[in-house]
Amino acid sequence: MGATVTTANKTENTWGGGNEPMGASYGKLMMWFFIVSDALTFSGFLAAYGFSRFKFIDNWPIADEVFTHFPFLHGVEAPMYYVALMTFILIFSSVTMVLAVDAGHQMKQRKVAFYMLLTIIGGLIFVGSQAWEWKNFITGEHGAVETKGGSILQFVNKEGERVKLADFAATLHEDRTQHKSSNGVWFDEESALPTYSVAEVQAGFKAHPDLLIRTEKIYRDTEEDRANTGLEKGLNVNKKREILNRAESERMLANATLVVEGANLTRNEYGSKLFADFFFFITGFHGFHVFSGVIINIIIFFNVLLGTYEKRRSYEMVEKVGLYWHFVDLVWVFVFTFFYLV
């Protein structure tokens, strides 16, 4: 496989066989071609994401406002810092991988093992971090309501700062409990109920006259937007989401049908339904690649320790696995840009 020696056949045709026409061994060439196909798959997903975002560009959540958590800093708004740290960790693990490949070229077994171990650890930290981001994303932070038409309404105070449902929702004595197949009507069942009901949110909103509603729509400062009397004067900023005045807010809240906390594949408290769907799918697919990369790296790491490649007189396997790992890093660089930055 990796060690099959093919002599460069200079006397015959380049493509006549028994040769390396493109200068790389069979295994390395196939790894490159696999990377091309996987890169195109991810490009398809990212292009679909771009298309959907373009279609709903007026309603798409702003990444800075969604990804604000940092480990051990509870309650601190730290937009983008943690995902930046994750990018660094992955780039660093790529560096240790290249150093492992480099050591492999010099046939230094212990050095290869050491750098591969660092790469594996970096990969595991990345997957763990991604899982933590998912957890925060799924749990949600402020909570929102969804209207009959399917749009998400969030709450702000009169300075335009976000307010949590927990901060103002009233507690009404209600009998609504979760339907399980053991107690539901006609053996109906549903997922767990949200912490507050729509009535509680509406009652709380009424009791706090300072609160306003923030819609999904992004304010563009056009003639039309400036003439819109439903918007709260002084609070609407270009390229930020629209904040309605009190009267308009009450009118919109009357249309609420669901309380949405956190995110799943069908709806999320941050805005467009597709946002969470794409986030889970693309980062999940990428995370799966990182995870499989870590597993493969572990296998090759053990092979290095066992001296398999010393016997073969070549560390090319480390190089091939390194290509896959760099590909994973490359995809992350693009996902990071299109999900978090742009």
């Binding site: 020696v5 460069a8 390396e20 026409p21 493109m22 200068g23 790389a24 061994s25 390395k28 060439l29 490159w32 990377i35 091309v36 890169a39 195109l40 490009s43 398809g44 292009a47 679909a48 771009g50 298309f51 373009f54 279609k55 560009i57 800075d64 937009p79 983008m80 810092y81 930046a84 990018t87 660094f88 780039i91 660093f92 790529s94 560096v95 991988m97 290249v98 150093l99 490949v101 480099d102 070229h105 010099q106 270009n238 390229k239 070549s314 090319e316 190089e319 390194g322 290509l323 760099h326 590909f327 890093d329 490359l330 660089v333 693009f334 990071f336 840009t337 978090y340 930055l341 742009v342």
Partner: protein, 119 residues
């Protein structure tokens, strides 16, 4: 393999230099992503704001550096280089072209005509 028939000198210095470059570019991207300076966000070039252009160009530069230096593409034969790079770039550009044009069409339908849902 034909490449390993000669002794390899260590390339560690070059690797750390590229790591430094990638780190600096990432820091710049994150910094701009947090600060979002107004003169970049509010000005457009070909329908996209300048900040997004900066991000995309920096990302492409990082991708080039990772592919060339880390994946050792700079040491490969030109035929392999082109087989990989030309294929991906051509197909991605084609895909993006189709999706942006069609996405714009659908956006215009929603904005300017009577269809408001489920198009």
């Amino acid at each position: 393999m034909s490449q390993d028939n000669h002794t390899h000198e260590s390339h560690t210095k070059k690797i750390w230099i590229v790591f430094g470059i990638l780190s600096i570019v990432t820091i710049v991207e994150v910094y701009l992503g947090i600060i979002r300076p107004d003169f970049l966000v509010m000005n457009d070039f070909v329908s996209m704001n300048l900040l997004n252009w900066v991000f995309i160009i920096l990302t492409l530069y990082k991708a080039y550096k990772i592919t060339w230096a880390f994946m050792h593409m700079d040491g490969e034969k030109a035929s392999l280089r082109w087989a990989v790079v030309a294929t991906v770039i051509f197909l991605v550009l084609y895909l993006l072209f189709i999706l942006l044009v069609e996405g714009n069409y659908i956006y215009e339908i929603f904005k300017n005509s009577t269809i408001k849902w489920n198009f």
